[in-house]
Amino acid sequence: QPPGRPELLRCRSPEKETFTCWWKPGSDGGLPTNYTLFYSKEGDRSINECPDYRTAGPNSCYFDKKHTSLWAIYNITIKATNKMGSNISEPQYVDVTYIVQPDPPVNLSLEVKKQVDGKPYLLLKWNPPPLADVKSGWLTLEYRLRLKPEDGEEWETIIVGQQTQYKLFSLNPGKKYIAQVHCKPDHGEWSEWSSENYIQIPGDIELKDV
């Protein structure tokens, strides 16, 4: 039988410079089935084929910088072909400008410190995802932290803005905390949460009476 209809699942750009699309194969009709991604770009009648099927793994197409334009609509279809025939997915219209989802921030570090007045606080520091070009201003990232006691259920989320460190004053002495950070481009989706990082707050921290 000819193959079932494939479906374009998702396209994502991690840094507004390249992007990747993934598709879901339809039924293969019990025969070896081949998948081809075709795209045309706004203002250019030609139909092109995926430049790189390998970099991003199976059932994916990776568009490097040379093949990536912003502010232009890509019309993308997937064609499944086997000996008995072929089937084409619904065309999807993608503008790289609006599919930006960065990688998580890296190097999250936690440290208990004391202010000059002796007040203890937790200093959290991290770095932007390496791929994101924040220095030139091409991408502007804002961050959010989340923390919870190791045995706790509920995360506490903290909006941090654009800086890459945060001082947390409401500490619970003797507690072990888990922390994660994620980031969002000025116009795009939140990244996944970073890997977890732990810290044990010393039990002898003197908490001021309110």
Binding site: G43, L70, W71, T97, V134, S136, G137, W138, D186, H187
Partner: protein, 199 residues
């Protein structure tokens, strides 16, 4: 209260402050433009396949603008500043008509109208700011008044509802795109001119 202790000489908003305010405003305008586009798309464009026709481009496509990071970084800041000015000027007229014509859309929610008015006002404000910035970057130089003329008013007033709704869709699609370009270029320019590309 006084902000210029040295008196009136040299009493002006610094280029760095001008850029801070311009970037905050361009970010705000694009956020609003995305919201108004998404709201219109959800309410009036579902299942009409407007996106396929929106590929014909925007009235500002005659202004050739950088399409990716390398092109933008290779563009001299004068040219980029003038492009931002050109795109902003090209939107004065359509935004004015968008505000009046949106009111004729059937059951147009107040939020769409409010956003159209807010974008129109803030766009004018950002244009005032950009002219100030260009005036500081190039004191005394007369600006080249490059902009792209918009002739889309008749299409916003067409009797056939589908065509009229598509005209609105395309205008809002282009507004979202161009406001993103302006925001992106301004953030680049700010980092380049104020922070020596080390933001």
């Amino acid at each position: 209260l006084p902000i210029c202790p040295s008196g009136s000489a040299g009493c002006q908003v610094s280029l760095g402050n001008l850029f801070d305010r311009a970037v905050k405003l361009s970010h705000y305008i694009h956020s609003l433009s995305s919201e108004i586009f998404n709201e219109f798309d959800e309410r009036y464009a579902q299942g009409r396949g407007f996106i396929t026709k929106a590929i014909d481009g925007c009235h500002t496509s005659s202004l050739t603008t950088p399409e990716d990071k390398e092109q933008a970084q290779q563009t001299h800041h004068d040219e980029l500043l003038n492009l931002v000015l050109g795109v902003l000027r090209s939107w004065n007229d359509p935004l004015l008509h968008l505000v009046s014509e949106v009111q004729s859309i059937k059951e147009a929610p107040d939020t769409i109208l409010w956003k159209a008015m807010e974008i129109e006002q803030q766009n004018k404000r950002l244009l005032e700011g950009m002219e100030k910035i260009v005036g500081q970057v190039h004191p005394g130089e007369t600006e080249n008044e490059v902009y792209s003329k918009w002739s889309g008013l008749p299409s916003l007033q067409m009797a056939d509802e589908d065509s009229r709704l598509f005209a609105f869709y395309n205008l809002l699609h282009c507004l979202r795109r161009d406001s993103h370009k302006i925001d992106n270029y301004l953030k680049l320019l700010k980092c380049r001119l104020i922070h020596d590309s080390n933001c």
